[in-house]
Symmetry: C2
Subunit: 356 residues, 2 copies
């Protein structure tokens, strides 16, 4: 199957995720999820020239405007939110207006946050165009922007009314960006589904070549896992934290290497290896994870940034995020858990990977 | 009774409103609602010198900081939100930090919105010090700031974890501000409780002299009515709109007169008279409302701004707010309803009050 629908069950905030090759080409594919008279498409200067026309066509005559932001993480600021809000005001948007996010995770996070605060909340639709956004950030309602002191410090939980995933948009993604998305795909397998991990080992070549059936199946599987996790813990008071597997180490890598040096998924890939080592997993399990990451074109260890620098960055992350260091560790591949009780020597071994 | 507690029933977001003379003097009165290790008190340069020390004492040793904003509506901006967020970042606030709003409606709206977006939402407590905030804006979770194009265009629904109302703080309120709060008290009677309207007629002199028993009783009654309305319609998709009685006319008066010329409650008072006329209520009912407003020291008609200017402002309000003109009208005093079906000649009669 290359045509899939996944439901996210959140009571009155429930919604569907449609996954299909050429989903953007279906008649009124987006229009039927716009309940009011108009829409604002938010995109960036890389994605808009490629796909804005397809979104416009899919709106089937719904009145709409388009705001194009600069591509990149530096757009995720309160200033950009003000820009999007100014556009909504200028078009006389009301509570029935729909915001449509067309792009990757940055566009989705900005659009969703702007939609959550305009008139205390208007509808929004996600049209994610990167693999990372399709399997992770477009689902689950986390929205927000960065503060100079830290990523995603300002934001809201605001669920979309629909997520439309057109897998053909992945064709224009840079290979490194696509691989970065595969890191999040692998993350789902490592945190909770060993059968999916085996499936990924078998079909990684097909995934890298973007064979439509395999791509759609992988995305559907990830969305189903995320939908289930989010349905159980929408506001991340417990099990939703499992989705952060590899991310505490990964954020430290991104920070110390300098934002943009390592792509998010690359840092998460190395972070998952560090989490596996910090969990005290046997060498064959760590090796199996590394082989899978390598087959996806991803790094299998952190760069030589030094264990002390990484540890300092993790401490800062901890302070801002939570008040205490909690890590996502593994009992085995496919079985993650949250803990504040970390074995010191295993943690040192993980950090030492950055001393190589 | 001068000591009252009202519950707002919103499932897992339920909370209590404590109303007492000297509530701020009770041991650990605020500390017991702070679940984390620290708090940020947000206040303004008029209220902080008067009451910040009492809030500090009521925190009973909880680590805290204080941010003091300029008094006034012009503080309700996205820039001020950024200032409060910067303070939270600078104190290493985490998801367990509590924001405490000490002041009137402006401080409450700013603090609540900042609390709603910091790390996607932290707890906040309302300590309203104006009558208007005590009977209206501190209860119900509406938070937000203004956009140059309109009031409260940017915001969130974010319920407090507690509202602490110390009625003795009203003693320092300017008489005009206090009367402005009485307009919102009268609004509750007019929109839904004719017995309360009779009670207000009987005890207005005692209320104007701030006799503690009567003040606490009036506040408790308003909070109970608001709690019930909010519990039934948290996000204002229906009956909560009744709380806007007099506000569409009132906002137009505020806009055309120039913000700050008329206090919000004064404009709402005149707006309620206009709503009564637009409802086609008989003269004796309109007169009864005007006598009650007059006894509270409030205006009983709009200023001579011209019906056309007011109508233009209402059109603008309509466009931004909703897409169509809906008004809160009255079947009788004590019986309000929402309608988009307004009698033209009655509406003209109401607007003509501004041609006098």
């Amino acid at each position: 199957m290359t045509d899939q629908t996944v439901s996210v069950e959140l009571g009155e905030r429930s919604y569907t995720i449609r996954i299909a090759a050429n989903a953007l080409g279906e008649p009124a594919g987006l229009a039927k999820f716009v309940s009011g008279p108009d829409a604002l498409i938010v995109s960036n200067d890389v994605v808009a020239p490629l796909y804005a026309d397809r979104v416009r066509a899919s709106l089937n005559g719904v009145r709409h405007e388009l705001v194009v932001l600069p591509d990149g993480e530096q757009s995720k600021s309160l200033q950009t939110i003000a820009t999007v809000l100014d556009h909504l005001v200028a078009m006389n948007a009301n509570r029935d207006t729909t915001v449509i996010a067309l792009g990757g995770g940055v566009v989705g996070d900005i659009s969703g946050f702007a939609a959550s605060v305009y008139q205390r909340g208007v509808n929004f639709i996600q049209v994610p165009t990167t693999l990372l956004a399709q399997v992770d950030s477009s689902v689950g309602g986390k929205t927000g922007v960065n503060h100079p002191a830290g990523k995603n410090l300002i934001g809201a939980f605001h669920q979309p009314v629909h997520v439309l995933i057109d897998t053909t948009t992945l064709a224009t993604l840079a290979p490194r960006e696509y691989a970065s998305g595969l890191a999040e795909v692998i993350k789902y397998a490592v945190l909770g589904d060993i059968d999916f991990l085996t499936w990924l080992e078998t079909h990684m070549a097909a995934l890298r070549e973007q064979e439509p059936t395999y791509v759609a199946d992988a995305i559907r599987h990830c969305c189903k896992m995320k939908a289930s996790i989010v349905a159980n813990d929408e506001r991340e008071q417990g099990s939703r934290a499992l989705l952060n597997l590899g991310h505490t180490f990964g954020h430290a890598i991104e920070t110390v290497a300098g934002y943009g040096e390592w792509l998010h998924g690359e840092a998460v890939a190395a972070g998952m290896v560090m989490a596996a080592v910090a969990s005290g997993l046997p060498n064959d399990a760590v090796g199996r994870l590394q082989r899978l990451l390598d087959s996806a074109g991803l790094p299998v260890a952190p760069p030589s940034l030094g264990s002390e620098a990484l540890w300092a960055a993790m401490q800062l992350d901890k302070k801002v995020q939570d008040g205490k260091l909690r890590l996502i560790l593994l009992r085995a591949l496919g079985d993650a858990f949250v803990t504040a009780d970390v074995d010191e020597s295993a943690l040192h071994a993980a950090l030492a990977l950055a001393d190589a």
